[in-house]
Amino acid sequence: MREIEVNRLTEVIEKLCIEANEHLPEDVKDAIKTCRACEDGEIAKGVLDNIIENFDIADSENVPICQDTGMACVFLEIGQDVHFTGGDLNDAINEGVRRGYDKGYLRKSVVKDPVRRGNTGDNTPAMIYTEIVPGDQVKITVGPKGFGSENMSQIRMFKPSAGLQGIKDFILEAVETAGPNPCPPMVVGVGIGGTFDKCALLAKKALMRPLNTENPDPYYADLEKEMLEKINKLGIGPQGFGGKTTAIGLNIETMPTHIAGMPCAVNINCHVTRHKTEVL
């Protein structure tokens, strides 16, 4: 049994909230630059140049890449031999978010009630996802999620007879419907399988996976490549102004499901696909 003081989580989460919002992961930057090199339209090239200039400014001046500094999605992989001490785990996580969004001059974008609204003023509560894994470490990932893209996400419960074609059509339909709204070029996270709720979580986890990796199953790795190519033939382009680069990456995560079902979720993200991880 390893004891970890919960205030260490507070400190790490405070730091990760700020760093994730100011510094885009290298794999995302590389994907944007690769797409810029392949564009031929004048407006599309100009947009991608501005996007590159923007993340360079954020890097060098330590300012948020985007003003929508998101809901703080906090993923914890907790080793089963860990014992948290010194307070409530959820309180410690939210305190980290509170401090990070205050000290980092990040925008507070959370309302306390979905219908009656009212800003909570400190960007809490965080969206907390915990998973128990073997070992005695805690892996913490903070992924601030903007809602321009979140609002364009979709989930559908397919009959198994819809098959692979049903899933392919649905992914394209979701991107097509999103159009210019989620600030393309986008990153597309696809979840297939599980239950209704697990499927949506798979799609979100797919967005946390680096863009220079592929699904370990060659069947789905091929599907990732095929769907990214198909999306980039839609012509939506950077910001929806027309062009090759509609998406800079597409990741698929899957899990077993019921004999009667084939859920598929498409979680859309923008080119500001932020996440930062630390292990305690």
Binding site: N54, C66, C183, G242, V272
Partner: protein
């Protein structure tokens, strides 16, 4: 590509010279507002009250910036999705507002109002908040402070890089730009 410099206010005459696909550098005074601010302004107008700024020939930027760091004018300040303001935009144009800066698709009723009032919808690059903040030289909170990031601000911008997405005749870059790309890349 050459970017055309334009200076506000956005009069009818100036608006009519702008066409979908034009890349412009905008200079002048603009006002910020998004969901909650628009709701409040339209409620005030419905009651016959005035809104916190003179809407005549005004341009509204759909943005909720991050807080300014000490010594800075403003924090990151890129556009939010304009479609959420579609319910309010025709009302705002009916009292004189003409320019809108945001990102994403608009409903047909907004485009119809734009044709009627010579409105112009400009696109700023979504997700380029750090870059766009560089163009904002002055920022002043003018109303609805309780709304936090959604409060109404008066900004002075210099050479703000924008693209005309929908012009006063209803031409739409989202449709035309994509169609042009698909035509050029037909297999």
């Amino acid at each position: 590509m050459e970017r055309r410099k334009i200076t506000l206010p956005l009069t009818r005459e100036l608006a009519r010279t702008l066409h979908a696909g034009d890349q412009v550098l905008l200079t002048g005074t603009i006002y910020t507002s998004r969901d909650a601010g628009h709701k409040r302004m339209c409620e005030a107008l419905a009651k016959g009250e005035k809104i916190p700024f003179d809407p005549t020939d005004a341009t509204i930027y759909y943005v909720g910036p991050t807080p300014a760091k000490p010594g800075e004018v403003i924090g990151s300040a890129g556009p939010t999705t304009s479609g959420r303001m579609d319910a309010y935009a025709p009302t705002m144009m009916s009292v004189g507002a003409r320019g809108m800066i945001g990102k994403g698709a608009r409903l047909p009723e907004v485009v119809e109002a734009m044709k009627k009032y010579d409105g112009v919808y400009f696109g700023a690059i979504g997700g380029a908040g750090a870059l766009l903040a560089k163009c904002i030289k002055k920022a002043e909170l003018i109303a609805y402070e309780d709304l936090g990031a959604e409060a109404l601000r008066k900004l002075y911008v210099e050479d703000m890089p924008l693209v005309v997405i929908i012009d006063s005749e209803g031409n739409n870059l989202y449709e035309e730009g994509r169609a042009e790309y698909l035509k050029d890349h037909a297999e």
